[in-house]
Amino acid sequence: MWRSISWWFTFLVLLGAGLWPIASGSATGREDMFLILMLVTLASSLNILLGYTGYVNFGHIVFFGLGGYVGFYLMHRHGWSLGPAMIAGGLATAALALILGTIILRLRGAYFALATIGIHEAVRAFVANFEPFGGATGMSLNFAVYQAYGGAAQALWIAYGVLLVVTLLTVGISFAVKHSKFGLGLMAIREDEDAALVLGVRGPWAKTMAYALSALFPGMVGVLFFFKNGNIEPGDAFRLHLSIETLVMVMLGGQGTVWGPILGAALYERLRGYLLTSPLFKSLHLAFAGMLLLLIILFVPAGVIGWLRARFPATRRVIA
């Protein structure tokens, strides 16, 4: 990995894009970039299960919301600082995925996809009724909390910096998984699970690890997002639509590649921003996103990166 051209290319491009708002000190640039990096992290982590392992997860955002809740609860009620709360949020969701995974990854194909929808709804309904998490109204951070980070403005920059590190880490892990023996096992499961089992891939273990790994990062990002937001409530934390939009990003960029989720997230975010602000498409942006998704599935199922890599084999050296 450390000698790979494509890894350094990915790392430097992301780092450059991420440092640009810090260098220019622009707050709007930072807000735009925060959203893009957040989506890149969500899409890249989903890609580990969806792209490499071939399991459709409609409940990816559960980890984002639940991690956010755990971290928020620790910061709000127990006065933890951002760093430990973020790590606790990520570990909590990874642990949940580990437990859930050992149970529901016995299901395959469409049954697994249905179960993830069920989990999403069950968790959302549970959190909305769970009093320590504030029930249906959620929780709000006291403004004084930000004083510890040198004021609210400074806290936003800190959250951004931490997010950049988490994003680089996620993409790094995604790259490492793809080029490891573990990743080969996952891809074997994607192509033919029974054959993979016969050839000695530890199917249940590998799938559960992929699921837990894909749950770790959304949990951490959730804490950052809701720390920046200042309040958390079930409707914001568990948006089934965001799960699906993350799927669209992975598909748009190209599932099963490292660059696919990165490019897909950035493209989709820009496109959505444009559709939302353009008067013509404002109210129809969802319909356009749907049409885009359908066109990709019907005509370019490999996504932008997959198509590039197939059409111009020379690009494979640089774009993982």
Binding site: V56, I104, Y111, A128, I244, L286, G290, L294, L298
Partner: protein, 287 residues
């Protein structure tokens, strides 16, 4: 202590709803049974059924139950259209493709629907009186909706077992290649089956609209209920869907007596995940 009258009343109320839920789920389960596709546009199609009946009633003064016939026909045609555009090309691709293709249809309907109808709640203002038997009070609209659901289910069974086209649908469901060899135009039968599934969903939506207020987003709730019901009854099994609908309806009637209403979805979805794990073939399915 809650009196037995309340229990009975809630149970019957729930069961009446259950018939309509079962009808909606049948649309989902039929499509899965015939072509192994989970139709994620199920919810928005239910919502379209609601709006169809509503628009006919509010703007043309058509009786909702008469309007239902028109909506059923339009549901059939719409389903065939969706199949031709979004589903046919990816039918043999991995599950991910069909799931996302039908979901893209979902997004298009919701997006256009939100732009056209906004998300202000609508309701069909119709009352058919009420029937009182001891402690049990039955609303006319719910009684009639349950009756309509039973009639449509009966019609579906007659169609599937007594008509040539229905037998073709079953033949394609059991083995598409063999059916094709017997001279059955399987592509057209698949398109028709998809239409049949969306027709059931739209009809169920039309019935629900006669007693619950709704928005274009309401379909999502019933789509999730349909998943739970399909898994209860076994995916691909229409009788199971009706049974699952009744069970879910009964649960929805009875749980609020003991717990706050907001716990209903928690219990429903826990049941859903548990069933997927313990009996993915459904309550009526065979191992």
């Amino acid at each position: 202590m809650v009196s037995p009258g309340v229990w009975i009343a809630s149970l019957i109320d729930g069961l009446l709803l259950g018939f309509v839920y079962g009808l909606a789920a049948m649309g989902l389960t039929l499509i899965w049974g015939v072509m192994r596709v989970i139709n994620l546009a199920h919810g928005p199609i239910i919502a379209l059924g609601m709006f169809g009946v509503y628009l006919l009633f509010a703007h043309a003064g058509v009786n909702p139950y008469l309007g239902l016939l028109v909506i059923a026909l339009m549901g059939l045609l719409f389903g065939i259209l969706v199949y031709a555009i979004a589903v046919h090309r990816v039918l043999n691709a991995p599950h991910l493709s069909t799931l996302l293709a039908t979901f893209s249809v979902n997004m298009m309907i919701i997006g256009t629907g939100t732009a056209l109808f906004t998300t202000t709640p609508r309701n069909i203002d119709i009352s058919l009186g009420r029937l009182t038997i001891g402690p049990v009070v039955l609303l006319g609209t719910r009684l009639l909706a349950a009756l309509a659901a039973v009639l449509i289910t009966g019609g579906l069974y007659l169609f599937l077992y007594r008509t040539t086209l229905g037998k073709m649908v079953r033949a394609v469901a059991s083995n598409r290649a063999a059916a094709e060899l017997m001279g059955i135009p399987s592509t057209r039968v698949l398109a028709f089956s998809f239409g049949l599934g969306t027709m059931l969903a739209a009809a169920a939506g039309g019935l629900i609209a006669t007693f619950f207020p709704f928005t274009i987003l309401s379909g999502g709730t019933y789509e999730l209920k349909s998943f739970v019901i399909c898994v209860l009854g076994g995916l691909g099994n229409p009788t199971g869907a009706l049974l699952g609908g009744l069970i879910l309806g009964a649960l929805e009637g009875l749980i609020p007596i003991a717990l706050p209403v907001s716990w209903v979805p928690v219990i429903e979805f826990l049941l859903f995940v548990l069933l997927l794990l313990l009996r993915p073939q459904g309550l009526l399915g065979e191992r």
